[in-house]
Subunit: 349 residues, 3 copies
């Protein structure tokens, strides 16, 4: 992993008045460009040729400049550095097989170390435990005695996840057993709160040395599991799959916001201890059971796609901002604060 020091040295060479915001054209890039533009930044889109027409189609979310690449793996690091660009990481950067964003010598918004924790199941487990989160019971294959979900490594959008109920079913149905995790299948409602942690800490819930804001909240929609009830109703049974296709808004009972913020605070403070903090957006993926207990089953240590519902703000951001504030825009606003406070090194490393 590139060190903080190397990045900060590179950052010092940047013209602070001409900093640009760059990201890969995928995942939540439209929102990131749209938000950066609202905060007055010039933007750069790293795009593969086939995606170009999409990012040209939306005038208010179109980057000011495109860098066309053959593959997302070919992020033109030197070119970006020459252009004073800060790279905003998102799910596609974590997920893309050949890409290790934490090894790229380019200023990245947030703490690149967090991406490593997101990618590894065992580091993730440590993180959630240290955060004080209730987590689903973890099983070894031979211990499976209830419905469990078998997850493959990395943020692959739920691809290949399987539900199994017995060791036999596990061995029969799960063939790629590399870096998998077997979690108890929790029954309840999933909610995905979108947090933003700022070390500059003007508004929000106190956490560590900074403040935690609740930007918005969604529920993921996965194919085919989230419409399987339709075929079940005519007695047709198909194996569930869990590939994310989209997101829908959900607002939570106001009395549960305490627990939501406590979960976020735990995650932010554990990040402080484990890898030096996590400025910027993150998401704690929760299931709420019939006792209104919250269980966390994953953390996303960067902007999540659920924020794409809210490019003009949400039912939560309205309580913090007069202007329409998306997570994408919040990122840009934080970089702007970092520049004006001469503290970019607190949020970029």
């Amino acid at each position: 992993m590139i060190t903080k020091q190397e990045i900060h040295k590179l950052l010092e060479s940047y013209d602070q008045k001409k900093i640009k915001i760059a990201t890969v054209c995928s995942h939540s890039a439209l929102q990131i460009f749209h938000g950066a533009r609202a905060e007055g930044f010039k933007t750069i889109g790293i795009v593969t040729k086939d995606k170009l027409p999409i990012y040209e189609a939306f005038p208010n979310a179109r980057p000011d400049e495109f860098i066309v690449v053959d593959s997302i793996a070919d992020i033109p690091i030197d070119d970006l550095a020459a252009k004073n660009a800060i790279l905003i990481p998102h799910g596609s950067l974590v997920e893309y097989p050949k890409l290790r964003a934490e090894d790229m010598k380019i200023p990245i918004f947030g703490n690149r170390a967090s991406l490593r924790f997101e990618r590894s199941r065992s580091l993730m487990f440590d993180w959630m435990t240290q955060a004080g989160l209730k987590i689903p019971k973890i099983f070894k294959p031979d211990e499976i005695d209830r419905p469990c979900i078998v997850k493959s490594a990395g943020a692959k959008g739920g691809y290949g996840y399987k539900v199994v109920k017995t060791p036999e079913e596990f061995y029969r149905r799960v063939t790629d057993r590399n870096d998998i995790i077997i979690q108890e299948y929790l029954v309840g409602i999933r909610v995905y709160p979108h947090f933003f942690y700022s070390p500059f800490g003007k508004i929000g819930y106190p956490a560590g040395k900074g403040k935690l804001e609740l930007m918005s909240m969604d529920r993921r929609v996965e194919t085919n599991v989230d419409e399987l009830y339709r075929t079940m109703s005519v007695d047709v049974w198909v194996d569930p799959t869990f590939r994310i296709v989209g997101n829908e808004p959900i607002v939570i009972r106001e009395s549960m916001l305490s627990d939501i913020f406590k979960a976020g605070k735990g995650v932010a403070e554990a990040a402080d201890k484990l890898f030096g903090g996590m400025p910027g957006p993150f998401c704690v993926e929760l299931v709420i059971n019939d006792e209104l207990e919250m269980y966390a089953f994953e953390i996303s240590a960067r902007i999540v796609a659920g924020t794409n519902i809210f490019p003009t703000g949400s039912f939560y951001s309205a309580y913090s901002y007069e202007m329409p504030m998306s997570t994408g825009r919040r990122i840009a606003a934080e970089i702007k604060s970092g520049i004006s406070l001469s503290k970019l090194d607190k949020i970029i490393y």
Copy 2:
């Protein structure tokens, strides 16, 4: 119950230029404070210590003043009256066991008598019948011959609701049989229209001597029933529970707005006859079956939590207001009208 006359006498002692809006920090308080602020009111939050950081976290929804209490039951009535405060009731006030808002000598927005009707299953039944609503068939335990939902008293967020199909199942599974109601379990889509009834009646659908506005609409999300299909798909069967965890937006077929407004009008006019009217927000909880018939299964006689999706207005409020109009803001706007028309006594008793 405190009488109208007592409240109006107290209200007369208020400095009309310094009226403040107060509520208990829970349920829909963020929206109420946010809306009151938009209409220029000072606000007071009655808050327990553990909730304080939540209500401090959102600068645009933070009350101007906090009154910290040990328990929601300790609403500081005299203190509020001394501060010219009008109390806005919400679900937590109806639900909280020791609290009887209708007995509190403090001006309450709306008609406090409605809270009594909301709390009692038998009064609710009369109200819905008088309103001309289709309602689910009510069963005595020994008559149960189809799926029925057994509900406990009060707005407890669905806690302890059970579905039973036979008398035997009822006696086996329902142990607390105090003030319960056994309703036919209706099959269809639930929708929760959020109405606002104004006796000042500038815009909206004619009802009684005033006008009825449709502010927004939601669908409740309940744990675990609303994700049970996920486990069912792998042949795991868990008893459904019905605890509300959140809300999601839904817009209804425009051709069904007639029936929606008729339901709201029926409820508002029955309230006129039964207990002298119900100014302010309310919700009729509906199920729409496969013949597009609407059945009402409950009325909430105050702001409902589903409105929390819409602090900056909804797909319906946009058709009535240029500015972002939430139900919380609508309440404040109504109080403002009451003050300027010198008719606060029409909406506060």
Copy 3:
């Protein structure tokens, strides 16, 4: 069908400075009036007496003028022409049994020929095939070997749709076999992208000689199928029905926008070839399976009711427009462009 030439002749007689926007008070009329008003047009609502209070209830969506009719079938064509009105078609016009909008001698926004393709199952099949869309396998009754959905003709909001699994079940349960279609029942998540195709082509995705905009996206909510899992969870099995009662928002994975736009482009370009183009709004009704493949099961060749979620714009329109842009408003903006470019004949025929 009335010819393009006849309509254009009529259109030439219109006072271009006094063009009004008219529609039938149903389906998405509130949005259409609201949008037309935002673009500065006067509006006319054709309304039955029973619906009048609804369209009077919303001051910002109330048409400037009502024409009260006994039945939607009685659209006062000559009266509308005398008032310089352009008629906006929507689902109620396609669906209403006695009404053939394509035969009415009044300028209609969009290409009236598209309504004929929407109404006929076989023309629809040709259109989807020419568009290059993956479509569900079509079955003859005796070939049914998997779950199939049997659809009746026209956009009847899902009324009478049935799921059958065998020829025997088909013959037993489907009695009206007139102009039906038997489609493979696809397992996956339904999404309904709302497109707007403009031949004037300023912004958006290139398609034909114009540009394609993505305005918003929804998922339909159908009774009783979309809450059947609730009764299934207590082992109560009811036949699913598919009547649309409403719509909820959904945002799609950004990486899938390519496929979404390709589907829309295919449909727009096939419309060019098959019936001379389809300016204005349309919707391709899609199911996304567990391989993230998109199957189209219908096209709506006009504004769809799902756009009613977004009278002040959506998570997609925000990327194209600074102002709150609904599909209803987009229609009015297009007519305004047509007037100012003296090219109304490109979008009205």
